[in-house]
């Protein structure tokens, strides 16, 4: 692998992992709310969470540009805090996180719904507060959903193109992730071979992520799914 290619690979991994790490806490929280709570407007909220799944990625990228760009309301708010998304790998991570979010939430939600709420009640009668129940009972029993959701979101992040290029453009070393790099190579006459190499790396990465996710699920004690 050439130095350039290593750089692209590492950047992609950095972006995908950062996106995953940033989306896990809100993903778990929202999945829990959707799984367990009832409130007015819940259907609307659920639909909103799924938007990145149904909107064209370029549209999502554009919305991110409008909101988080240097001229955007949120972008301007965060800039003095040192958080910048425009034209930076953090923006690519944000795009990746947003695009993968519906997949993450769906998988985790299904997994939480499969946890018998009466087990949570049993824990409460034993003296556990709601928070403690969540962390000691609900979460461990939903591990397989979190692993699956994480994998889907990570894989989506690795393949994210439209939103990324629209939001943070195709800056080598900064936002040129694997898909963008592959695209760039296909745009140059004679770049096919390199594009293919990078595509193979993508496949290898996805397989590795899949294997890891499987291992994680297998490692967790009794899956918690009841007869």
């Amino acid at each position: 692998m050439s130095g350039d290619e290593t750089g692209i690979l590492l950047l992609s991994l950095k972006v995908a992992f950062a996106g995953l790490a940033a989306s896990l806490p809100p993903g778990i929280a929202i999945a829990f709310v959707l799984a367990r709570k009832r409130f007015p407007g819940k259907t609307l909220f659920d639909a909103f969470v799924h938007l990145p799944l149904v909107l064209p990625p370029v549209v999502v990228g554009y919305v991110l540009l409008v909101l988080f760009g240097t001229q955007g309301p949120i972008g301007r708010l965060l800039e003095p805090l040192g958080i910048v998304f425009a034209f930076r790998w953090t923006g690519a991570a944000l795009a990746a996180a947003i695009m993968g979010f519906p997949l993450l939430v769906r998988a985790i939600r299904l997994s939480i719904e499969a946890v018998d709420p009466r087990i949570e009640l049993a824990a409460r009668t034993l003296g556990a507060s709601r928070t403690r129940v969540f962390f000691t009972v609900t979460l461990p029993l939903s591990i397989s959903g979190i692993a699956t959701g994480g994998l889907l979101s990570f894989a989506r992040a690795l393949g994210e193109f439209g939103a990324t290029i629209t939001f943070v453009s195709n800056i080598p070393g900064e936002t040129r992730t694997l898909p963008l790099a592959i695209y760039s190579f296909t745009q140059v006459p004679g770049g096919d071979a390199q594009a293919m190499r990078l595509a193979l790396f993508s496949v290898a990465l996805s397989l590795a992520a899949l294997a890891f996710s499987e291992w994680l699920v297998r490692r967790s004690p009794a899956s918690g799914h009841h007869a």
Partner: protein, 249 residues
């Protein structure tokens, strides 16, 4: 039964229907002008012209992969050469259709002043921002831009500060939104977008001439396509192009 007949009828008519339309692949920077030319052509004529706009690089690849285009208008010679080398162009149909200029733009509200001459310090003018341009490695507008900046001795200074977009129009949008303080686009693009102002024009000598070659594709069998290709050089069409800021080559 009736529905079956209708369906069969549609099928037999389909090839005939194709003969009544033409598919044009054109560089993104031609959008407004070419749309107008196409609709003027279609008025009072039986036949439709559909235009697909994208980066010339993307279009050439699609043609190579068998896209059913009749006409290809590229924003530089490289990609027409590409198509010709692969034997996809109808021999003898290539000519230079239009010419364009390269300009430096800024958001309409910006007060920045830059003189594009050898030794210009573009990096200073950029400040903390980035230079929006089409991808300098593959998109014609970007390639011209890099050539111009290199000849002015400014490329090294801004190379690491570029925000490469898929098309020149995407770069235009970034500047219009104020996301990038400066951008490199065609004059015709700058004129089409009210949200930007032209800071200065790149000297013609700093880059290879920007020409738009057009070619009829070998696979085309559409009489409408032939007619349209001829129409592109007509006085009516020329007037429209010039109104949008293009020059004749």
């Amino acid at each position: 039964m009736r529905h079956l007949l209708a369906a069969l009828l549609c099928l037999t008519l389909a090839p005939a229907a194709h003969a009544q339309s033409a598919l044009v692949f054109a560089a993104a920077s031609l959008k407004e002008a070419l749309d107008e030319v196409a609709s003027t052509f279609a008025m009072g004529r039986a036949g439709r012209v559909d235009v697909s706009y994208a980066a010339s690089s993307a279009l050439a690849r699609q043609i190579e992969r068998g896209a059913p285009a009749d006409i290809f208008i590229s924003a530089d010679t490289d990609w027409i050469d590409y198509v010709e080398q692969r034997g996809l162009a109808a021999p003898g149909t290539r000519r230079n259709l239009l010419a364009n200029d390269l300009v430096l733009i800024a958001p309409a509200a910006s007060q920045v002043r830059v003189k594009l001459a050898p030794g210009v310090d573009l990096a200073a003018a950029l400040g903390k921002g980035r230079l929006a341009m089409a991808d300098p490695e593959s998109v014609p507008a970007g390639k011209y831009g890099r050539a111009a900046l290199t000849s002015l001795g400014a490329w090294k200074g801004v190379e690491g500060r570029v925000a490469p977009s898929e098309t020149v129009r995407a770069a235009l949008a970034l500047v219009a939104r104020g996301e990038a303080p400066l951008g490199v686009v065609y004059r015709t693009d700058a004129l089409a977008e009210k949200g930007v102002r032209i800071v200065d024009a790149f000297p013609a000598a700093s880059h290879p001439p920007i020409v738009y070659p057009v070619v009829l594709l070998k696979r085309s069998s559409s009489p409408v396509a032939r007619a349209f290709e001829g129409y592109l050089a007509s006085p009516d069409a020329r007037a429209i192009f010039e109104r949008h800021g293009f020059r004749m080559p």
